[in-house]
Subunit: 197 residues, 2 copies
């Protein structure tokens, strides 16, 4: 479900005259979805941000849900499980997620919408299952425990993202990045590699 064209000319990714409009819509949609969530982000407001007519959104993305799906095309780009040091996996993951969250708003969209929209929740489940689980499978002692350990890890990572980037708890926002890593890395490390308590 990649964010491609809709009229779909066979399989030619030839540059189109309307590509600038397409990406303008996508950018505006990402910002609006991140700021307002799925329901409150209206097609009209997105269109106004992108300086185009609301009907263009329909033409290029079919529907609001289509646009939404295009925005939610997320790749966590987690490091290759085989290539990472099992003793540093906590620090590595926490740092990587902080990077992801700060580089753009896609994950904010995902979180904000995953909480309200059932499809969003399913998408979020899929992303964490497909992308975080392999890492857990690689580094945790007993493969059978991998799902639980991945869930624990995601809970801490999501929770910090929630407090810091979505709810913006002042102390969580004020915490310097390296301190967040210093506090969270041992937690994640323990969730993934420590013996079952």
């Amino acid at each position: 479900m990649s964010a491609k064209e809709f009229p779909a000319p066979a399989a030619a990714p030839a540059a189109r005259r309307s590509d600038t409009t397409r990406t303008a819509i996508l950018t505006a949609a990402r910002e609006r979805f991140a700021a307002d969530g799925y329901e409150r982000a209206t097609i009209r407001s997105i269109a106004k941000d992108a300086r185009i007519d609301p009907s263009m959104v329909m033409r290029y993305y079919g529907s609001k849900e289509g646009l939404f799906a295009a925005v939610l095309d997320v790749d966590l780009r987690l490091p290759d499980p085989d290539g990472l040091d099992p003793h540093e996996v906590g620090r590595t993951l926490v740092g990587h997620f902080l990077d992801l969250w700060e580089e753009n708003e896609v994950l904010t969209v995902l979180l904000r919408v995953g909480v309200t929209n059932p499809d969003g929740a399913a998408r979020m489940q899929a992303i964490f299952r497909d992308q975080l689980m392999p890492v857990a499978l690689r580094v945790c002692p007993d493969p059978e425990q991998a799902p639980a350990r991945a869930a624990l890890t995601s809970s801490q990572v999501l929770g910090m993202a929630m407090a810091r980037y979505v709810l913006r708890f002042p102390p969580a926002v004020a915490l310097p990045r390296e301190e967040v890593v210093a506090w969270l890395a041992p937690t994640v490390q323990r969730y993934l590699t420590a013996p079952h308590p």
Copy 2:
């Protein structure tokens, strides 16, 4: 802003004939807000659940936001900071929050709406500030670090609630209660009492 009557007869909490309707509305609203979030939970659907007319909601709670505020009257009922064992604070808090989350849907409402609605986020900030901070102030070594430690604690607690009760990650749901406590308690204990890393 307690969930009281609206026409407000002086200050008499006398039982009213309409109290059953009022609580029916409040219960239905809590469920609908929890299930659908603020925007998608319509007054009409809440009224239908409560088997009354939509206009009754307006009469008793003034507006959708008024109803929402009544639902969000949350008391975490955290244990008295003075009365708890500093060495068991992690286990105590995690257990308490799991209880809270499972006993009714208010916290789900709060979380779901805090993520989408700015007012909800402010409400959530206030709740955690007013109710979790005192505990942190009591048990953490340096009072100056209390806000950061409270934020860290809330991140882990919120994250688990998110994964387990909102997004419903299957492995997080499957985890037995005592295992959640066993994994999270040391984390919270460390966030609150361990020396700064």
